[in-house]
Amino acid sequence: MTTREISYSEAIREAMAIALDSDPAVILMGEDIGTYGGAFQVTLDLIDRYGPERVMDTPISELGGAGVAVGAALTGLKPIFEFQFSDFAALAMEQIVNQAAKLRYMLGGEASVPVVFRMPAGSGTGAAAQHSQSLEAWFGHVPGLKVVQPSTPEDAKGLLLAALADPDPVLIFEHKLLYKMKGPVPEGAYTTPIGKARIARAGRDVTIVAGAIMLHRALEAAEKLAAEGIDAEVIDLRSIRPIDHETILASVRRTGRLMVVYEGVKSYGVGAEISAMVAESDAFDYLEAPILRLGGAEAPIPYNPDLERVAVPQTDGIEAAARSLVRGEV
């Protein structure tokens, strides 16, 4: 399979085009995804290529749009619904949490809801408190949903195609700062398995679990630490629900130290889940230091760019925390 360098948003678009080509049941829905090309220009020209019947602009009502997508999925279509900002999913909670996630259970397995929600997430774009959140942990709390968070263009494509192949609702959290990031992406159709983490960098001194933009900051920190002789293992979480227990536990058993880096607000988040998972497991016996969480500040994301920067983990902070963890200062 040939691989070339394309951007994260190009990879997503390519995945959607492959799906539209190969499966007539696939449709795209969302606000301004047609002529405008999407809030972040991810759908771009797909309306020209596939027409307004398959690339549908929906009114400014997230609850309505998501409801139509869930209903369409119940009838056998495979809608990909784009939220302009994942923050706006708050308006569509009824459809996502009470309907999409529950219907297969409520109908005794007689129906399924193969809908995909695309969720542009995260801070760093100056979009302020209502357009910058990282809410993936909210949805990770709901059985019946699958929640993924691709960190690379390759996984952005592979996880989207895997989500379409999945019979249940899948939420894909796409970090806004990653859209322009380029990386090697295989041509043609392939899937990245949902529920499987990836060791992005092997190391022996500390396990750093991170996703989305945090993966890249963790990798950058790991390279700086490597110059000091600190060998960090960095795990790309990829999937929040289901979560890959074994990859994380096996890594902790090797390194004896765990740090979870995530952009969502630190408390009650992904870090808490992973920390507890390790504390409850046999990997606990291998810990040589307390588990560290580096998460977002306990505050709305500020508009001021300097404050926005310090509200979420950055490379230098990850580097310093990992260093103190490995040096036995905590």
Partner: protein, 435 residues
């Protein structure tokens, strides 16, 4: 902010320590981790490292002072930091449960620098606990290299590596799980708890038990690596004492009061138990107790431990008694039969290495003896060649000293009748006083 210099808690049952020496004079610079002062407790002397780099000021304790655990005894000022009046201690340790409170690590991010817990529990990582569990080593015996003295897995690995260094002609042995062996005999009245000596076992009380007759209940405890008790790693006397306190507590749970009797090393342990379980004891009897001075006939101990046959054991056993004839060849063969397991001998050799390194009793129970309020009697054979009987002179005015005629280190075996009479009078007297 200047950093407090605190008298740390280095032992589980330590409430005070004596400052024996400062390594740094007031006004001098000391580096973090360098020796700052020495303290002595009832059981150990140790060097305390400086919690930070800085100049020592506002020293409130001088050499020889007895200081409560957790008390601030000085302050460390950073280079260029203005030395004003002595600051108030940030958080005085509560009187009833003082604990060490070293300064927080400055470099740790604020959100993860948790306050030091005021607890008697041992600070150790899960990995260290697992390694200790599997290696059969007591965490309490280790010094942690991690932050705030936390024991790391590597500390345990290091300690185990030291234990496992093959001593010449000593076989490998592995520790065993389970509590210390306790055997009991029923009877009427306040029970007598008995702790035997090094290389002996509970069977060695037989002649004395016979001489005492059937009266009060007996509770005999086997030391670790002796008799029917599991083999355990012993890092220090304090380590061993903790095990015995635990066994004592378990064995005497059903009784309000007990008498306690210990011989030799068992005597030192009985004294250590009496030091912290005084209210449980009606009386304390010590036969040639260890821990009252540095001298010990280590040659005889080594000889007994090393012996792999009755012929090589007998000459050393004969050093234990005033009259060599007391130890017959049959006795030596019977004794050897209980010591046939090479792992038992190896475990005892390691124990001797910890307790009697360099032919010295590496522990001092004299402060415990001085504090003793339980009615106590010391019995010592006039011809003891293992531990010098003059060690008994450490006893205070209320402690009886009986010099047993015609006896060496094991009067209860050599002269059980007079020993039984002395004990009977002592125990009855203590019961009458208590009653």
């Amino acid at each position: 902010m200047p950093v407090e210099v605190i008298l740390p808690k280095v032992d589980m049952d330590m409430s005070h320590g004596t400052l024996s020496a400062w390594h740094v004079a007031e006004g001098e610079l000391v580096r973090q981790g360098a020796a700052l002062f020495d303290i002595e407790t009832d059981k150990a002397a140790m060097e305390v490292e400086s919690p930070a780099t800085g100049y020592l000021h506002h020293v409130t304790a001088k050499e020889g002072d007895r200081i409560a655990v957790g008390a601030v005894i000085g302050w460390l000022y950073a280079e260029g930091e203005e030395v004003g009046p002595a600051p108030a201690a940030a958080a005085p340790a509560p009187a009833e449960e003082p604990a060490a409170k070293p300064a927080e690590t400055v470099s740790a991010p604020a959100e993860i620098a948790a306050p030091v817990a005021q607890t008697d529990k041992i600070r150790a990582t899960p990995a260290a606990r697992k390694a200790a569990r599997e290696g059969g080593i007591a965490l309490a015996s280790l010094t942690g290299s991690g932050p705030r003295g936390r024991i790391q897995g590597s500390d345990v690995a290091q300690a185990l590596a030291v234990y496992r260094q093959p001593a010449a002609s000593v076989a490998e042995w592995s520790p065993q799980p389970g509590p210390l062996a306790v055997s009991t005999r029923g009877g009427e009245g306040v029970p007598l708890v008995m702790i035997h000596g090094f290389t002996a076992d509970s069977q060695s009380w037989m002649p004395l038990e016979k001489a005492m007759g059937r009266a009060r209940p007996l509770i005999r405890i086997d030391l670790p690596g002796h008799g029917k008790s599991p083999r355990r790693r012993i890092a220090s006397f304090a380590d061993l004492a903790r095990m015995l306190v635990e066994a004592f507590d378990d064995a005497t749970r059903a009784h309000d009061q007990v008498h306690l009797l210990g011989h030799s090393l068992g005597g030192a342990l009985a004294l250590a138990i009496a030091d912290i379980r005084a209210r449980k004891l009606t009386s304390l009897s010590l036969i040639a107790p260890a821990g009252l001075g540095p001298e010990v006939d280590a040659e005889a101990l080594t000889g007994i431990i090393r012996a792999s046959r009755a012929e090589s054991l007998a000459p050393w056993l004969r050093r234990l008694t005033a009259s060599p004839d007391t130890i017959t060849d049959d006795y030596a063969r019977a004794a050897m039969a209980t010591r046939r397991d090479p792992e038992l001998r190896a475990a005892q050799a390691d124990m001797a290495q910890s307790l009697f390194a360099d032919s010295t009793q590496c522990f001092d129970l004299r402060p415990a003896l001085a504090r003793l309020e339980t009615p106590a009697a010391i019995l010592w054979g006039r011809e003891d060649r293992i531990l010098p009987a003059r060690h008994a002179l450490a006893a205070g005015s209320e402690c009886a000293i009986h010099r047993v005629e015609g006896a060496g280190h094991i009067p209860q075996y050599e002269c059980p009748e007079p020993v039984a009479r002395i004990l009977a009078r002592h125990l009855a007297g203590a019961e009458a006083t208590a009653g």
